[in-house]
Symmetry: C2
Subunit: 331 residues, 2 copies
């Protein structure tokens, strides 16, 4: 192995995202200096936040630079090391981006234990998406037993964890997802109490039937019309964790019509980015790993094969074609 | 005096509010039993929340019943008493509604001191509107010196207090109001740093000029397009106290397009009703009365003359025709 492949951002989306916004490159394998190590990435994580980074707009993070490797979380194995704390064979998660190889000085690289939790799960249910669910639910919504919690994109990497953790907290859990297959999954396999298929065309009516006592906590991953329908069902003093507005990532403004519910129901709404709350990660990841190891927290992955498949997999995920955590298998 | 006048809700608004939604009645003066007292109301307070009560919709309070006296705060004088704690001549504030007379058992009636704060001010700057400003600013926005605070309906009973308290807290204060006259008032007389006239047609641009460093705290009294423009200027970790959405009180849904800023800027938004936070009223009213007595907190009133003028004054207020606190003088 003397070369490897990586994908850079070739251009910013004009209107909608397209495969030619990305460019696959083959580059030489780097040498490592003292204190450095080389990681062969086995899995690349594809996540909605990447879409926002592709735009050159004011946001919580700097835009993804053009002609540089697309940002992204990775899980892999150390294949060469001149670093005292890492040895060949160590399993690690890092932020090497859309690349088969990562060169590191050890900073922000984390050794993981794959004996009870598989390598890929450290990018999903026991990674950033899992922590996003854990933080938004436990630190913003703060569910109480008997309350009704709603979560959109319910079968996704974040939503599926939100709902299962809320069930473990003794809540009634209502998912919102696109299509019967995803809804069946979150009810039958994940144990949600109900799921509303927003593609069925009766969002308000179906949500009323699924949450007859209203909604006390909303974990919002979607925005737009789906958020409107849940806002309209909120109970007094409800809490909203605003985690994603995936429907708007192609640049269009998504009107929300029921914001007056925040006033009339005295709701609180909090936008958050889990990477700004690193102090909670050790506790949260510990709890999530325990639950996964015990088989009490289930997850599903959609795995694309090979780095070249990443752009299509990413675009498909933004359109809801994935089922659970979207990964790219690199080895 | 053997009869008095009162105004009841005759019908619910169909589309928009109209004068014939109200009916003026002349009724006999009641006798008082032991433990009761009679109040001659001198001032009636007109407030935006009344518009919402006129609708038969799910909200934080029960709808105003048809054919009953319209709800409302009043300030007046005891004219007859068989109650041990109230004497003829006592000045009191209560919730007697759109009525020249109030019959009470003393419950929820409060004696006030008009030596330093005039009677009418106990319905405004040292009443519910003042407390709304005090609570939303101090308990939700929690301004820090040097921050920029924006407030819509800036010349109104609530907004004018929000801005002056924020100035006292060392903030840069940007008001939003309709028309040059109101903007001139909040800058020249109330000491705001800047004011944007939303009727001038350059809301986004003018707000950018008025808040060059962005907005850290937003006290929102209006909703809709005005809220959109301020949302677009919010800084990371900004706080929004959602107090009113007056633009939507005629029943139309007001789309908000910049809600994604809550996510990208990690904002918190809290809807609130000041009457649910009575535990803060003694402290807040004490501070407000002190500031008014010292001349450090200014206010303006628009006073309609006579109960029969209340419907037109109320409709005018909803359309922004008042300047400061809208009252009806009954005596």
């Amino acid at each position: 192995m003397t070369t490897y492949q990586r994908i850079v951002l070739a251009s910013r989306p004009q209107g909608g995202i397209a495969p030619d916004n990305f460019r696959l490159e083959t580059v030489p394998l780097p040498d490592i200096a003292d204190g450095q190590l080389l990681v062969r990435n086995h899995y690349l994580s594809l996540d909605p936040y990447m879409r926002m980074r592709m735009e050159d707009v004011k946001s919580y993070a700097a835009p993804q630079p053009l002609d540089e490797v697309m940002i992204g979380g990775t899980a892999g194995e150390v294949i060469a090391s001149k670093h005292p704390k890492f040895q060949v064979g160590d399993k690690v998660v890092g932020m090497f981006g859309w690349s088969e190889i990562g060169l590191s000085d050890g900073n922000l690289l984390k050794k993981i234990d794959t004996s009870r939790v598989p390598l890929s799960a450290w990018l999903g249910v026991v990674g950033m998406p899992g922590m996003t669910a854990w933080y938004g639910l436990n630190q913003i919504i703060r569910p109480k037993a008997g309350e009704t919690i709603a979560v959109s994109a319910a079968s996704g990497a974040v939503g599926s964890v939100v709902g299962q953790l809320a069930k473990l907290a003794g809540c009634r859990v209502v998912g919102i997802a696109g299509g019967k297959q995803k809804c069946d999954y979150v009810v039958s396999e994940l144990g949600f109490d109900a799921c509303v298929d927003y593609k069925a065309g009766n969002l308000f009516k179906d949500l009323k039937a699924a949450a007859p006592n209203g909604i006390d906590g909303l974990f919002e991953n979607v925005g737009g019309a789906v958020m409107d329908a849940t806002l309209a069902r909120m109970n007094p003093f409800g809490r909203i964790a605003l985690c994603g507005m995936i429907a708007g990532y192609d640049g269009q403004l998504m009107p929300v019509h029921y914001l007056h519910m925040v006033l009339s129901m005295r709701l609180s709404m909090q936008g958050f980015i889990v990477s700004e709350h690193l102090e909670f990660w050790p506790q949260g990841l510990g709890e999530l790993a325990q639950l996964v190891g015990d088989g009490r927290l289930k997850y599903r992955e959609t795995i694309a094969d090979g780095l070249a498949a990443a752009p299509a997999a990413f675009i498909g995920m933004l359109r809801g074609k994935n089922f659970g955590k979207q990964l790219v298998k690199l080895v």
